[in-house]
Symmetry: D2
């Protein structure tokens, strides 16, 4: 397939790791996408059907294939989504690219420079040759794709995305004193994946709000690296992640002191409001505004492709909350935004209901 | 140790499978028990300490031992609690008994006749010789122990216990038409154990009240068999089990039409009230009374050794609710009641606070 | 408005009690409905906007009006949805009907004969004249509307709907011995409404599965009355309702012995499967099949207009589980089905995604 | 009563506001306290009994009295606990004190200087004369009580306590650069009290982790004021509070850069460990140590009088987590510590099981 010039065309797509939580959301989005034809779902388990998880008239038309059928089927695809662990993505990406298949990888395999990756993930990188050509698909901030094919797009991490959505506009305008930056993120348990693990059992998660990987989460180097790449600013924030007794949704509390040039109090708050309005004026997937239950609610973004950015200024203190659905903007729907980039479609294609807009 | 004549003595006890949810509750109870000295906890994992789970001044005095040290340590013990799967209990029980150690088994291994067991559990029984000598420890209903040692006591199942507590008094007095009996039980997720399993993940359990093993739960034959043994009545109830998005607690709804001799309406309700009062008049671990939030609340029994039985009569319809903590009366605290039987102590020893009773 | 012959027409609709949980779901559905134009939302509170709860491009076009503006605005409407308590619905319905506005009432005000209502709801009926003309809108079972206008449609209760969906096909075919029928229903907390009440606080609901109105829920006479009206069968089931620590969703366990003519075991199960298949062959909003996690999951129906009916036969015992979203099929989406009846549209219009069906 | 010299004596105590969540926990603790005799519980509602909420052999010996019986009963009391809103505490405290009754107030009424109080609570102070004599009972940090009677003790706020437990030792030793301090606190919903409110409904709290009073919580001035009073350090931290979908428990994330004198990395971590060890060496109600699931778990402190302080150093970044039960150390058990101060008892009297310590 060419890169999307013929939009009536349906691009043939597949998902590897389709039975996981992000994989299922991807399947749901792609089944509904006007320019995608989901033909295959690959998974290590074979005893399942899409309709076990999704009601859709096309659900049973998708083939469930085993991982060792990938090689045979790959040539029939335009784009593949890898909803797999980093070690599997590193193993598979090259093969797809060689067969001319665009790769949108939802793992952390291609988001970081080699050395940073190996330290953050505690593993050897086994596809280093691809690191330089991977595009980091944080949207709407990622630049244009190189006009060559096939493409390798690294879909950003869930926590990192929630931070980027708030931080990139702020840092691009020099709004905060970056040495005062502290980020406290909380995620629903689906962020831990569907693989059985004692610490993700209902009985363990319920009643808790447990911090984990304190100061050491692998999304911290992702944040630092790409904030520098996108805004030229070097940051070194404190960063904590918590596991919420909630199914889906991330809320990141982003705390910093305002830059002196922004002043303080209500005037500064007005400037911050304008800054976010402007940053997202042509991007329909972010809502910004002062803090309010509506703006800080996880349930208002869960199931949607939207992020919400809310803020409050007290003196020189800036409180920002960024919410999103970890399985959507934090994974599957941002992957579909990247798919839309490949096809030169508007980023939000297939992600916003058009009902009622007529 | 003799069978409890010298109550100032501390009986040496150990737990096999101590790191599971029931095992930890057992450890908590035994550390506090005036006549128990918990010396060893056996588990397949070794990288843990009692104090990871329990704050207790004696927690770090308990040895954490691997399963292959059992043989060496067994001779030093008076009683062992098996908080293990049925297959492990079948493997271990004989060895302990031969070394003169009493066994209180929390699994389903010794609760049923051979044929019934093999059908209900879908496995071969590997210690059939022990089936005839196992005592079924449903309390306060179990009879006196044979005065020989060592003893093998089968601790009843959690759902089955919740049903027995309501049903045995009713059937003993012929209060219901048994052919109308329907039981709908709901359990907190800790009933599924601590072993990682996809269906017990927070993200799977949250938001659901999922029936499972519909009409086929292995506690149904346990209920049928021991109801007949204890009351002489043959029943064949409908029985469903559900997984609640709750950590601990079982509530069983027990529905039947009253026997004609009981009449209907308020008069019948008075008779039912009297029946339960009388049944449990000398047993402090059951509270009975008409339905009310207090009487039907899981949180009121969770963390305690108590059961609560509540009832309502509408015409000839009898609604009974039986609540208990699946890890306590449904497992660990009933095991301690059985330990108290071994020592000829009151059943509730070590299970009811004596504070405030002075 | 005529009764829907011109389907390109948009019917002007309003919601009274729009800020409650069912009201908001109704607003969401009506904003998206191709043949509805939602113009007004009436509520006792005025300090809110639709966009506090729903993201929709038309959300801010809907007027939020106070209850005392009803009289002024009613003449501009074709149909009004009353998502109000029974006492308010009784007060308002007559006025709307007199002004020629169709009324779809989501309360219990018009579902029962006078005497039964007053006993079940513990209140005087203040609009008795309307009782005889109210249509009971259980779908797909309700008969054709009388061809006169305006119409008063009583939308069925949430629990009652979950029971009807399973019971009407069974009783229509004489599949069960009705004297053995027991119904155990469990509902998410949104069924209790949005009005602040101590027993619905998070801290009260969490950790519990509390039965309430044991044997006395007002949906029991609704079930008995309309089962008789629709199938000619008189039933007198045991019926319990529980409050789940879950936001949305109802699961009703429906337990009975099979009629002798149905036989037992696998053969009987096949007959039951066929019975449900046939009953719903031309109605896309019910899925039926043998019990499975997929079929009994609340999360699979929450947010949808669908019901799921699953069943298992053991000997002569029939276990049926009926699931639905209490705010959708149990309230708002069934109200939209009734709206579709008014307009002679297919029942599922506006309730099933047509994406992916092309 | 004298101030506790005769410890065999039982001090006569009452609770005002006894039916709320903190009130009930207080009742539970006082019923078990060896030197307390709980004689009366005052509440606005009268249709309840202690045994609705607590199983205790003495539960039904406590009189439930209406608020207008206070004047009559007060003279019989030694100490009263006010588990009431600030406006009620301001109204009642003076009367009790005049009758010679010690007052331990759990509200915010007497924690702050006049001006700070009125700004933080948005209300007039109606008992200003008492402000200068109120003792701020943060333990173990509060100094000796003045040896005069009766005493007015202001029990600290729940969030504030969680912060003090971590911050006082740190600031007392100059461990952090206070200008970098950020505090992100999360609380279970019982912190919102038992009064029905829409935002505390199960359906609203579930699925969320909602920030509230962002930067404006009334515990922030309490923290600032008493940190200065106790350590001489002036701080101006960023502070956020969140509502967790959890019943009980607070976790405060306390983030700051280490003072230069503390160095960085592992050496600094050792110093921080020593600092907390030393601070709490003679106080049994705090456990401190490096971050771990055990140390950061809410469920490990819920139901206990303990706080847990855990920490991690990365470079010059100090992450500290402070957990406690908002109804215990954050309210009722700290109030009992203050009661123990009144009686010259060890602070932990009646708060730590002595079982197993023999």
């Amino acid at each position: 397939m060419g890169l999307g010039q013929k939009t009536s065309f349906q691009s043939k797509v597949a998902i590897v790791g389709a039975r996981g939580y992000s994989g299922i959301e991807l399947a749901r989005l792609l089944l509904d996408h006007p320019h995608a034809a989901l033909t295959h779902c690959f998974a290590t388990k074979n005893d399942w059907k899409i309709s076990d998880f999704i009601d859709h008239s096309l659900a049973d038309s998708v083939a469930i294939s085993s991982m060792n059928e990938i090689e045979k089927i790959a040539p029939t695809l335009d784009t593949v989504f890898l909803a797999t662990p980093a070690e599997v993505s590193m193993e598979l990406a090259q093969g797809f690219l060689k067969m001319g298949v665009n790769v949108i990888d939802l793992s952390g395999a291609f988001r970081l420079p080699l050395e940073t990756f190996e330290k953050a993930y505690g593993m050897k990188h086994t596809a280093t040759a691809l690191l330089s050509e991977a595009d980091f698909g944080i949207l709407p901030w990622a630049g244009p794709l190189r006009r060559s094919k096939p493409q390798l797009i690294a879909n950003p991490g869930c926590y990192a995305t929630s931070v980027f959505m708030a931080l990139i506009p702020l840092l691009a305008k020099g709004a905060i004193r970056e040495e005062t930056l502290v980020i406290d993120s909380k995620s629903g348990a689906s962020g831990g994946g569907k693989k059985a693990a004692e610490n993700l059992l209902f009985t363990e998660v319920e009643g808790e709000c447990l911090p984990y990987k304190v100061g050491k989460h692998q999304h911290l180097p992702e944040i630092i690296h790409h904030v520098r790449a996108l805004t030229g600013t070097t940051i070194d924030p404190m960063f904590t992640t918590h596991l919420l007794p909630v199914n889906r949704g991330i809320i990141s509390g982003i705390y910093a002191r305002l830059a002196f040039s922004f002043g303080t109090g209500p005037d500064a708050q007005t400037k911050i409001a304008a800054l976010f309005q402007e940053a997202y004026s042509s991007y329909p997937l972010v809502t910004s505004g002062p803090v309010s239950p509506r703006m800080m609610s996880l349930k208002r973004v869960v199931g949607t492709a939207r992020s919400s950015i809310s803020f409050s200024v007290e003196g020189d203190k800036l409180y920002v909350f960024s919410t999103l659905d970890n399985l959507m903007k934090g994974a599957a729907s941002q992957a579909v935004e990247n798919f839309n980039r490949l096809l030169d479609l508007p980023l939000a294609s297939g992600l916003i209901s058009t009902k009622g807009n007529t």
